[in-house]
Amino acid sequence: MTSTLPGRLSFGALPQFATLAAVLLANWLVFPDFFDLRLQDGRLFGSVIDVLNRGAPVAILALGMTLVIATKGVDLSVGAVMAICGAVAATMAAADYSLVAILAAALAVGALCGLWNGFLVAVLDIQPIIATLILMVTGRGIAQLVTEGQIVTFTHEGLIAVAGSSALGLPMPVVIALVLGLALAALVRLTALGLLIESIGVNRTASTYAGVDSRSVLLATYMISGLTAAVAGVIAASDIRGADANNAGLWLELDAILAVVVGGTSLFGGRFSILLSLVGALVIQAMNTGILLSGYPPELNLIVKAVVIAAILVLQSPAAGRLFGFLRRS
């Protein structure tokens, strides 16, 4: 009958960590130096660090996406919102605003985008995929409008440091992703927000009848998604020291959704786990980095990706779970 993937770290996390281990192992097989680490200028270097660093934007997107998906929604606009916020940050950096002003503006724009999505979903009752598709299309245009179609570059030391500096030997984006992840996990689990989100995702009518303020919760959820997209957008802009309105965050919404699903949160809403979504993002980036390290011709990239995803699906499917259970018993 219906089956939901367990969203709790306790016993349900095994498939996710097993998947991550398998992908890392595969990387090690195609590239034996995969686990090599080297310390230089107080900063770690190595392929594993690359996985963490490159995976940070998707991981951050996946944080907000997890909550949205838990409400039985989806946010297709995160890539475009990244582009808008990156464009805002870059243009302001080019005009030499202070870092605080830049960050505040980018986050405000991200929150506004999230509110717009939330408004369409919660108040106008438009289906999430279409509601956010509107901003997915429009948003990229808005980003280009901000940059006037050009790649805006900057030499703003403060903004460059957002992705370019390091802390505790780790690249700053990794630290940001971790801190954000922990903060968000704390926000939803130490308050009742997580429970209310899950409740709406499972049965919005019943939750509303139980007195849950579904509208506000939905608005908050989409706003959080907008905020995480803003952070990811600023990191992406900082990383290349410029805003590429066309390509920033392009198709990243799919990666983020994939990360959430690999992390075990059901697309049908309900139980979610923020930390497992982070693991899911790592799985995806590890796969991408592995492809780059393997030296296979780029024509193979998509096939490899498809096969890996299919393998993950098979491994994590409830059917496989039952089979393993059966084998263990007999």
Binding site: S47, T153, N246
Partner: protein, 297 residues
């Protein structure tokens, strides 16, 4: 305006493309031409729709920057039936029937790759050289052609070898990410001799990755790419890149002239108006940067 031209542009996927659009507008204004631009968002189907709509609107001429070489016969046939001249910009098309278009104003993307390859061969000389290649979007024609041209140019030099080749999707972010993994895969980057990128944007990303890994692009590593956008001149001026092959964004200017002449007295332009593909080196970089920075790249 006396002349209305519909321009089916591919999109605005790169700085170069944006520059081409804005230069076209400037050139149209100069000549008092009413230019209608339809942005196809990288999709051939949108371009075909746009051409059909231009025909339905009855424009005087159609410019087409084809996203792909094949698949235009039918719609261009319709334009021909409606007696609207078509000019191809930046790329030609695969067609048996070259009467379908008036002329093609293009650069030769295979040639661009070749120019880049020849520059590298000349600069490297006889020593062994491991080259990393950043390809454009898999399956896109500039990626295919620029690879082909480059491969042809270095074929005669067995000391030059492409050791790794991955796609960076023509973007800075991907260029940087791919280069980071190349560095890991090639022994921390110590053995890298040269980087060839199918466009400048990826090259700029690659330069950042190399610098962050403590390497010296432009000095220890030869950096060559294609497009000649302002930012690469800046990098050259700072000694971080070595060469770029120009692809001029001014394709529309010659095209307007050809159409106006044709409309006036039926002058047939040559079937192919080729634009120049020239190598720019650091010596002129600063000046070129100043000249280009306001062109809408």
């Amino acid at each position: 305006a006396e002349l209305t031209v519909g321009f089916s542009q591919i999109g605005s996927e790169s700085g170069w493309r944006a520059a081409e659009t804005s230069v076209s507008k400037i050139e149209a204004e100069k000549r008092g031409i009413d230019l209608k631009i339809a942005d196809a968002q990288q999709k051939q189907e949108n371009q075909i729709k746009a051409i059909r709509t231009f025909i339905a609107q009855g424009v005087d001429a159609i410019f087409l920057a084809p996203v792909v070489a094949t698949g235009w016969d039918e719609v261009l046939e319709e334009a021909k039936d409606a007696e609207i001249p078509v000019v191809l910009l930046d790329r030609t098309i695969d067609s048996k029937d070259d009467s379908l278009y008036l002329t093609a104003v293009t650069s030769d993307t295979v040639y661009e790759g070749k120019v880049a390859g020849e520059y590298l061969a000349k600069t490297v000389g006889d020593r062994d050289c491991k080259i990393l290649e950043l390809q454009g979007t898999v399956g896109s024609s500039p990626a295919i052609n620029r690879k082909k041209g480059f491969d042809e140019a270095i074929a005669a030099h067995p000391n030059l070898k492409i050791v790794r080749s991955q796609t960076g999707d023509f973007t800075r972010t991907k260029g940087k990410e791919v280069m980071e993994s190349f560095i890991k895969a090639e022994n921390g980057g110590k053995d890298i001799c040269a980087v060839y990128a199918h466009n400048d944007d990826m090259q700029i990303g690659a330069i950042q990755a190399l610098k962050e890994a403590g390497l010296k692009p432009g000095k220890d590593i030869i950096m060559v790419s294609i497009d000649a956008v302002p930012d690469i001149f800046k990098a050259m001026a700072e000694g971080e890149a070595n060469a770029t092959v120009e692809l001029t964004p001014n394709m529309a200017g010659p095209a307007f002239d050809a159409v106006m002449a044709f409309k006036k007295d039926g002058t047939q332009p040559p079937k192919w108006i080729q634009t120049e593909s020239k190598v720019y080196l650091p010596d002129t970089a600063a000046a070129e940067y100043e000249a280009r920075k306001n062109l809408g790249y």
